[in-house]
Subunit: 77 residues, 5 copies
């Protein structure tokens, strides 16, 4: 999995029916941006763990999604 | 998923039988080009969300396709 | 899927039994070379559409293959 | 599979229920960092073999994980 | 699939039970190194075809492996 930072929201009115009801967030890592399904309630600025590929559909095989936020890193104190 | 821009059409008379009836579009991102199945009725110039890998076949497991346009971004106003 | 050009043949006498009877071709794209199963009868010099990952096995799940030529681009005239 | 070095721990209190009970470690390879499920009891500094993609879920298909440490390299003496 | 050269052996005493009995080899391509399951009896110096992703498990779905050597190229004479 990759470590990324949540950097934005993603809005799309026109989308596959199977994506409705799922929140997606923009994540950034290594100077690149991607969009991932949020499975843990992350917010902008959070450092998150993103799982990619078929693993992103482990909870819902019918979701046409290839990236999912599965954990929020604990802040180092 | 990756954010891309639709930059062209794709025409192929000679193709796998299982690809017939499916529209494919050329998409560009990070200076690269790829071809994706269009599941939402996108047009040239649209900013779209492209899902890759087996997720592109979530709706049709028999389609030999590794990229699909699953959403069109709302224009920022 | 990626757009590639067929640049060569691939010969291997010693191979997995499950690969026998399947034609493989060398394809080039973005300065790289790969080998893909030919599902459409492509020839050297053809511009082709290559699907990767598990999609390459959509027609034959038992084939240990991660890339397949699934269409030949129409020539622009 | 890729060869990597274990370089850190990974702590996340807020995560998918399906990830609970699984240890994850930070691994480094080719100047990049990733997070992988530890299936063999690796420790920081170990040279390990990391399997990626759906292979990381071979033992547990429901785990939303795309990388797993599956072996520790023997030290060369 | 990618063309690679076998460049070394891989030894690991501590590994997942499901990997026991399978030979793994180090392969090199494009200046990178990886480790692949050997399904054809390849040796150091052989030019081989490596299949990646879930295709590497086509013969054994339970193997936590994401790369497999599936053919040895015929020498050009």
């Amino acid at each position: 999995m990759i470590l990324a930072t949540v950097t934005g929201n993603f809005w799309a009115t026109k989308k596959c029916e199977s994506l409705r009801g799922q929140i997606f967030l923009e994540v950034s890592f290594d100077g690149r941006k991607a969009v991932a399904a949020d499975l843990v309630g992350a917010g902008i600025g959070d450092r998150v763990l993103v799982t990619t590929g078929s693993a992103a559909r482990a909870a819902d095989p019918g979701l046409p999604c290839d990236a999912a936020i599965v954990a929020i890193l604990d802040e180092k104190t």
